[in-house]
Amino acid sequence: MDLKIIDLGLVDYLEAWDIQKDTLAKVINNDLDSALILCRHYPVVTLGRGASQESLRFGNEWIRARGVKLYNVERGGDATYHGPGQLTVYPLLNLGYFKKDIHWFLRELESLIISSLADLNLPVSRVEGFTGAWIGNKKIASIGIAIKHWVTYHGLSINIKKDDLANFGLIRPCGMDIKVTSLEEELGRQVSVEEARSSLLNKFSGRFGNN
């Protein structure tokens, strides 16, 4: 199966959202086997279908006044923050070619994050009942997906740069009072987005690229 890699670099959320939806339509119509969109976003808070006003620690206008955009989106999950110090990945895969099982796919995404970060010598794990990737009680990667005609979109984000974590204070990540962490904070050194990108791309291509 051909996995088309679409690297958008640093991109506005809405622009990437439009590209996701265009690519989704192509995969649904079998004009494209599958695709993997990789990007970094300008600061944005997105509210998934599980979010409520309780998910935000501040009012919408106050958040926007800080230069952080705010959107309701059709993915599962609660509130999350995306910024330039994260790697955000949107897999557009037809689960009909793999396994029509929503929870299986969520666990696959967790496994890919865990094995990618293991390559960077960072031991992360999953916590049952709390989708994502964790280091102890701190969250390093978030997952929230949507599925249409068994084709996936939305996806995951991994926190890389430590100076991009402050904006998580605007929200209750995943609706909870949890701590978030980053690769830089855990490894105690500077980490480029490219390091994580290269590792994750390698794992994704191996798992979903050649079936």
Binding site: G48, R49, G50, E74, R75, G76, G77, K99, K100, D101, I102, H103, W104, F105, L106, T131, G132, I143, G144, I145, A146, I147, K148, H149
Partner: protein, 78 residues
């Protein structure tokens, strides 16, 4: 009249929550249109309409938990 049933969504998934109805009762739908969005864990799943017709009834509202195999809606395809 065609029943719209919550299909199998994966191993061990016995229920899901209705998060959004794309149509109101009385509206025309086409086969494969997104009819209802369901949520399980950190995922949403759009269930398409199985046929063209008029949405003549829904059995559950947004926020309701529904079980696999349950009827969610009725479509009049006559």
């Amino acid at each position: 009249m065609v029943n719209v049933i919550l299909p199998e969504l994966g191993e061990g998934i016995t229920k899901a929550t209705i998060s959004y109805w794309f149509f109101k009762v009385g509206e025309k739908v086409k086969e494969k249109d997104d009819l209802v969005e369901l949520t399980t864990d950190k995922a949403t799943f759009n269930l398409p309409s199985p046929c063209s017709g008029v949405l003549s009834g829904i059995t559950h509202s947004e926020g309701d938990s529904v079980e696999v195999g349950q009827v969610l809606a009725l479509i009049d395809n006559t």
